[in-house]
Every structure is written in structure tokens, then in C-alpha cells.
Amino acid sequence: MQLPLRPIIDSKILSSLFVAATLALSYMPAANAQVDPGEWKCEFCPFTSGYDAEVDVGAAYVSDDAARFGNANGYDEAGAYVDLGGEGHYANDGYQLNWFAEDLGLASRVFEIDGGHQGSYGFYLGYSELPYRLFDTTSTVYTASAPDSLTLPSGWVRANQTSGFTNLASSLVPQNIESDRKNFTAGGHFLASSNFRFYADYRHLERDGVDMVSGANFTQASILPRVLDNETDLIDLGVGYSNGPLNLSLAWLGSFFTNNVTSLTWENAFTAPAGEELRRMAQEPDNDFQQLSLSGSYRFNAYATVIAFSASMGQGGQNDSLLPYTINPNIAAAALPKTSLDGKVDTSNYAVTLTANPLPKTRIKLAYRYDERDNQTAQVPWSRVIVDSFASGETELNTPYSFKRMQLNASGSYDLFDDLRVSAGYDRTDLDRSFQEVASQTEDSGWARVKWQTTEWLSVNAKGGASSRDIDRYDTTVAAGLGQNPLMRKYNLAYRYREFGELMASISPMNLPVSVSLSALWADDSYTRSTLGMTGSTTTHWNLELNWAVSARASVYVFGGEETIEADQAGSEAFAGPDWFANHEDDFLILGGGLQLAKLWDNTDLRLDYTHTEGDTRIAMTTSASGRSQFPSIDTTLESLRVTVNHKRSEKLELDLSLRYESFDSNDWAIAGVEPDTIPTVLSLGANPYDYDVWVLGLSIRYRIGAAKPATP
């Protein structure tokens, strides 16, 4: 009885084996059937081995002091600067070591080093600084006697208004508002096998300097130069796994913020009862956040389907010791209900995306995303002391805000012709919030897009759509609890209808070395059910760029663009229906161009870039009492010219001569003419609108050391 089955078994086994073998053969790279790459010698391949480097030594002269000009680059003061930079590379049999340095002589210095063995492990270390320069026209009467304490000069004459500060002028000392970020980075990766990759990234960020805050004193305030001194540590650890169509990653993020100045005490400059001159505010508390994430993707053979997912759970906390209600012991204040907040926030983020080509020329995408911020901080009654002066006599509950956001996206595209693709999609966002006027809102959006390569030289990409954001109800009880006008509709919570469109075109006329690109965008928001608050806004943008390769040695580009943002809002002074309206129009124009000339003279190249921008903000107010009035225009004008001439003296030696000119003029009614005592109830720092012309002339020498040599493969 068994014998007759053998042939069947044999044939099944045989056929299965052959089918499997054949299938395996068919899926093996064709190369194996044709050639053996292992036999390829690559004799002409100039693999690199050895060390090479180039070192830049330069100097620059800056013509004028200008905080805004020096923001981020470090050239904020007139005078001479010495600069160093360069890079170096070592490579040998897959081992690599690279270094990079930039602006070592400036406050924007960067130094990085990385290395490892490619395909096995790698590491990096880095240090960089970023200067933040806000104002150098400011002055103050305060002195930081300690990082958390500002004192007035001895003999300070207090008054109810700034005009009464009789010794103000003699007490003012210049105080720049500027800070620096220092950034240390380190990390690496290790390939445990062809499937597993481990990585670790660490970043330590320090920020120190002087910032602006305001110290309120009921109907008066002083703008204060507070000392900044804080640190953030960021750690990313993870492992990635890949095996054919499957990719997985497990990652942990830790972020730890430490503020070395947890409060700010200042002496009130205005009249205050004896023994109650001090004021104090809290500074940003230490906080931490940790998050565990699992993400991955799987690629199916059927219909080119790919599923990608991501799931993250995080928890943040903050438990700094709380300050007392007031610094002034003379003021009767209740005992704190807690000595620290014990604030906790849980976060959840889940996402899954599916893409597939279910039919020829057809692609679909389905995506779902869920984000949640669950603030689990307990609600506790608090008894406020108003600006360190008197007890409010009320209790207030803190409102730990939470939200849940769900997003669904479905889209599809079809290649109608080889040169015409049409796409359409539907997006929905559901958002639930706590403690706010709107507990639940939904936004539905639909869009369509056409991508058309009309000819070889013209391609057009156009998209348009509309969205409608609806709410379950605007809870005026919540609004009333906040003292809000019941007709107010906050723009991020309100019903909104949006229409939008965008167009991108690229033109490359055949046989002409010219390319033109055009983009235009328009979006219109209508808050048709908002009586007070934002009632509408429109954004329009256009941009045009032209590039012309004049010859193999010369190229030219020009560009221009404009963006206009117009917004309307309504308010109610009478705490009833709208009795005033504001219209905002922000306009921004850019024009620019440049050229590159190679071998202008022997071994000399030139690059020139010019940019002109104009910003213009106009605000018109219409009130029942005084009709329509217009604020002076807030305008900015920037002219920027950068010219670099590079001369290659030899294979090892190059010279760079650079010239940079920047002019910036601005009119800003918020600070123009506002001296420290201009506002009767605000002692300000007297910042001036930016207005500068700065020239920077630089010369640097670049010298090459060594040369990577061809190596035998």
C-alpha cells in the first residue's frame, strides 16, 4: 500500500524542490547569471587612502557695531576679528577620521570630529556656539547683585510714574540683551550584524547671557534684564533591526532641562510701602521628559504595499520647589497647598500609514495618527497674592490642559497619461480638549492635485481644496468663568472655513540654458460664526526664480517674491457686540540676484549675491468712538551684498577675499522714541529700532596639507 504512494511523494517533493529552486533562481540578481562581480578588478577606481586637510586662516574687519547684524554670526561689534577653520580627512581600509572647524575665532564657532570603521561602527563629537544678539541700544538702572537678584542703584528715587524718577538719567547703564548657546554633542553607532544597528546620541545645550522679562507692579511695570543660565541634556538611544522587507526600531528619548536661576527678585522702582519694596517671579522650572518609541515598516510584494507604524509613549514631569505666594512677609498670605507641583504629563503618539499600488498607474495612501497630551497634574485651590502687594482673597484652581488629536488621511493618485497624474485626498482631524471653551472639534478637508509635464520644458503642479472646521459647541460657561465676552470665539477653537490653492511651474525652454520656476499660493480663512476675535485672514504668496547658465564658466540667477498676510478681527470695548475692528496687512517683498564667474582671471573665481527685502505692516483700527484710524507703517528694509573672490594660487594654496555689506532700516512704533521713561507706568530698556550699515572685509588663506592617495582595492 505504501509503494504506490512513493512516486506521488517523489513527484511532489521533486516538483516542489524544482519549483522552489526555479523561483529562487528567478529572484536571484540577474547579474549572477551573467557576470561575476567578484571578478571585477576595479583597476581604474581611485579609492582614497591617507590623510588630507585644508586649513583656513583669516581675518575680518567689521565697520560698525550692530546687534542684529551680529546675531548668529558673532560680528556684532566693530573691529578686527581673527578666524580659523578647515577640515581634514583620514581614510584607510574603511577606517575614517574627519574633523571640521568653522569660525573658531568668533562666537559662532563650530568644531566637529567623526570617525569609525564604515560598516562596523562610527562615532562623533562636536562643539558649537550660537550667539543671540537682540539689542545693543538698551540700558537699565538695575544691577544683577546675584544671578537671581536685581537691585536698584543706591539713592534711587521712587515715584508713581517714570517722570518722577529724578535720578533715572544718571542711573542708566548700557545693558545689551544678548545670550549664547553652547552645544556639545557626542554619539555613535554600532552595527552588530547585518540586521542590528545600535545607536546613541547625546547633546548638552547651555544657554547663558541676559534676556528681557517684565516685572509687573499692578498698574506699573519694569522691563528687567534677567540673567539666563540653563542647561538641557538630550539623550537618544536606540536599536534598529532590518531583515528583508521588515524594519523595526526601538528608541528611548530622554530630555532634561535644568535652570540654574529658578527665580528673579527685583527691587520695585515704583513707589511702594516701606518694607514691601521687593518683587519676585518664578523662572522656568526644571523639567524632564522620557519617551519610548517602537516604529517599523513592512513591505509586501503584493501591490507594492508598505505599512509603516510608529508607537510612542512618554512621560514628562516637573517638581521644582514652589516659591511662596509673595516675597514680602508683611503681606498676609495663605499657606501653600503644596510645596511643589508634582506636575506629570503623559503623552501617547500612534501612527500607521499604508501605501499601495492596487491597480496599474494607481497609488493609494491611508494614514491614521493619534496624539494625546494627558496632563495628570492634580487640581488644587490656590490663593493668589497680586503682584506681591495684596492678597486677592480668592481661590483659583489650576487648569492642567489635556488634549487628544486624531487624524485620518486618505488619498489616491492615478497616472491618467504618462505625463499627467491626478490626485485627490480627504483629511479629517478630531480634537478633544479639557478645560477649554470647545471640548470637541472636527475638521474635514478635501483636496485635488494635478501634476502635468505638459512638454519636455514645462511642468505644472497645481493643488486646490477646502476645509471646514466645526465644533460641538462653544461653551460660554467656560468662557464666563474666564471672564470672556460670550461672543468671543478664539481662532484656534472657532468654526473656520478655509479655501486654498497653490501652483508650481517649472519652465526649461529646450536648447536654452535657462530655467524658470514659479510658485504661487493662496489661502483664505473665514471665521463666519465668530462675532468677536479673528473673523478672517488671507495669505497670498508668489515667487519667481530664473537661472541662466550663460556659459560653462558663468551663471546668473535672479529671484523675486512677495507674501501678503491680511487679517481682520473684531473686539468689544463695551463687553457686548463688536464695537471696534482691526485690519492687519503684513507685506513682505524680496528681490535678489547673483552671479558666479569661474576663471574670471587665471585660477580666480567670483561669486556675488544680492538681496533686497522690504517688510511692511499696516494696521487700521475702526472704532465706534473715533472712526477709522491708521497706525504708522512698521517697515523694514534690508540690503545685502556678498562678494567672494577665490584665487587658487597653487594646488595647495588658495586665497579668499570677501566683502559683505548689509544695510537695515526699520521703523517700529512699538519701540521708536520709547526711552526708559517715555511710558509713564513702564520703566523700559529704551531699545531703538534697528538701523545700521555694516561692511565686513575679510581675507583668508586656505592651505592644503597632504593628499589622499589612490589605494589598492
Binding site: P7, W40, S310
Partner: protein, 316 residues
């Protein structure tokens, strides 16, 4: 027996068919197999393509023979790993006849962008952070080589100073916004787009944030805003872009509207929040603390939240 014989013959026939059919298909497939690989690999290619811009590949990670994953690792397909089989391309062509193309990369390439990207993803799908498929760039059929210069040892998109210029080639609105008077320091080459966005997709939204949400992304550099604070400002914890324009603004602090009007789009309480502020409150008239200097922030300085027990009005 006859039945068994028949059965055996039948099984032999089936076996023969099963063996021969796939082999025939395989053979036919081999015959149909489009272009073959060159006989000498890169040595064939470099015979013609010996310009420095091409050979600079050997200064990049793709040109490292000791890495078995590299196209030039032992046994790999060298140039043809990316550009596809090149035998026909390298072969003789008749006078006037167009040389058969290989896969070319970049915006001007006639090779379909999906084919281009397929070549890159064949090796880099793992490192493309899993989320390329379905990302905004994938949806818009952006090619890897639209941004990356694979043969360039100094790929501009991988350097902070030069990356924005690459991105702004398409994202022209963001280019314009980056030049506004108040913006992050893109123009100084000290911040790049990938500080906030992962162009390879992140499984977030089409905005491609490097962290799970927009706020989480901002907290990378502004962790002091994260809290949780005792007194929170509702829109802050949900969406920084409710008030800020991260690519640039005409207004200080990169806020979307001027104060105090920005605050008055949400705050309508009786008294000072709801009073219209007009030009008669400017410095040359009756200087108003509600309009000048830091306007609302002259008192409510802790707009991102306060951790002071008396800070419910964000003044402490």
C-alpha cells in the same frame, strides 16, 4: 498493474512538466532579461566617465571597498549597482545611433523617479527612518537625487550652511519667510531645515517633524517651554504655531500678528483686554503701556506659563 503503470507514467509526466516548465520559463526569462551587466564593472565605466566630478564618488561612503554594503564592496555591482546593467550602454553603437541609456539620477533625468528612488531604497530603506513611503516627499514624487549629490564628497544637503538652499529650491515660500526681519538663522548658515524636519518621513504628518509633534520638535532647543507649569497657557501646550511663525515673520518674536492685537484675538475680558488700542497711544502722543515696548507682555511676561503660586495671570 496497468493502473500503477499509468499512474507512474502520469507522475513522471507531471514531474517532467514541473521540472521543464519552470526551467523553460527561467531560460526564457534569461533570454528576455534586459540589458546585461558589463564585463569589467567600474573599469568599463571609468574608461569614458573619468571626469573628476564623477570620480569624487571615491571620496564618499559609496566608494569604500572594505564595506560590504557599499556599491564598491567586494562582489557588489559597483557603478551598475545604482545605474543598472550597463553592457548595452558601454557597447558599440552605430554612427548616429543613440547610446542605450542607463539609469540616471536627478531632476533632469529621463529615468522615472520611482525607478531612481527604488535604487536608493534598495539599500537605504532601513536608514530612511522607515517612513519614506507615504511621506510628503514620497507623495510628491521627490527623487532622492533631487536633493542629494551622491558623487559629491560635500553633498550640500548634508551641511548645515548649504542645506537650506537645497530645500528652498522647491520650498520657495519658506525661503522668502526665512529672509523676514525676524527668523531663525538660516541665512547665516547656522541652522538647517533638518533641525526640525526629517525629509525622509517620520510617520508624523506631512510636515515631517523630527519629533512626534510640532511642540516636541520645538522643545528640542526650547525645553524650558515644556513644563508642565502650574499655570499653563492653553494654546501653548497644544501648538506653538498658534502664535508663532517658525519660518519667519515681520513681527518680533516671530509672532503672527502684532501685540496687543494678537492677544486680543482671544482675550476679551472686560477692562483693559477688550479696549481698542489706537495710534493716539504711541510715543509721540499719550504713550500707552498696552501698546508700546512689550505691550501685553509688559505685565503678562510669562506667556509660556508660570510656576509661581501667584502666577495665574502669567505675571509672575
Amino acid at each position: 498493474m496497468p493502473i500503477n503503470m499509468k499512474s507512474r507514467r502520469f507522475h513522471k509526466l507531471v514531474t517532467l512538466l514541473l521540472v521543464c516548465t519552470p526551467l523553460t520559463i527561467t531560460a526564457l526569462s534569461a533570454d528576455d532579461a534586459s540589458p546585461e551587466y558589463s564585463r569589467k564593472g567600474a573599469d568599463t565605466c571609468i574608461g569614458c566617465h573619468d571626469e573628476q566630478a564623477t570620480l569624487d564618488l571615491f571620496h564618499t561612503r559609496h566608494g569604500v571597498p572594505s564595506d560590504p554594503r557599499s556599491p564598491f564592496g567586494r562582489g557588489q555591482l559597483q557603478c551598475e549597482a545604482c545605474h543598472g546593467p550597463g553592457s548595452d550602454h558601454a557597447g558599440r553603437v552605430r554612427r548616429g545611433e543613440e547610446r542605450p541609456p542607463v539609469i540616471r539620477f536627478g531632476k533632469d533625468s529621463e529615468t522615472d523617479v520611482l525607478v531612481q528612488n527604488g535604487k536608493c531604497l534598495g539599500c537605504h530603506e532601513e536608514s530612511a527612518d522607515f517612513a519614506w513611503h507615504g511621506s510628503g516627499h514620497d507623495d510628491n514624487q521627490v527623487g532622492c537625487a533631487d536633493c542629494h549629490q551622491v558623487h559629491n564628497a560635500h553633498d550640500p544637503v548634508r551641511a548645515t550652511a548649504s542645506q537650506p538652499e537645497v530645500c528652498f529650491d522647491c520650498h520657495q515660500q519658506q525661503h522668502a519667510q526665512s529672509l523676514k526681519p525676524y527668523s531663525h538663522p538660516f541665512d547665516e548658515g547656522k541652522m538647517d531645515c533638518s533641525g526640525c524636519h526629517n525629509p525622509h518621513g517620520t510617520g508624523t504628518t506631512n510636515t515631517l517633524f523630527v519629533r512626534q509633534t510640532l511642540n516636541d520638535t520645538c522643545y528640542e532647543c526650547h525645553a524650558e517651554k515644556r513644563g508642565p507649569y502650574l499655570w499653563e497657557h492653553a494654546p501653548v501646550v497644544e501648538d506653538c504655531s498658534s502664535c508663532h511663525e517658525p519660518h519667519g515673520s515681520n513681527n518680533p518674536g516671530m509672532v503672527s500678528l502684532r501685540g496687543p492685537m494678537l492677544c486680543q484675538t482671544c482675550h476679551s475680558q472686560a477692562g483693559h483686554p477688550s479696549i481698542p488700542r489706537e495710534a493716539d497711544g504711541l510715543a509721540d502722543a499719550a504713550p500707552s503701556p498696552y501698546l508700546l515696548a512689550r505691550n501685553c507682555l509688559n505685565c503678562h511676561t510669562q506667556v509660556h506659563g508660570s510656576n509661581h503660586p501667584s502666577g495665574s495671570k502669567l505675571m509672575r
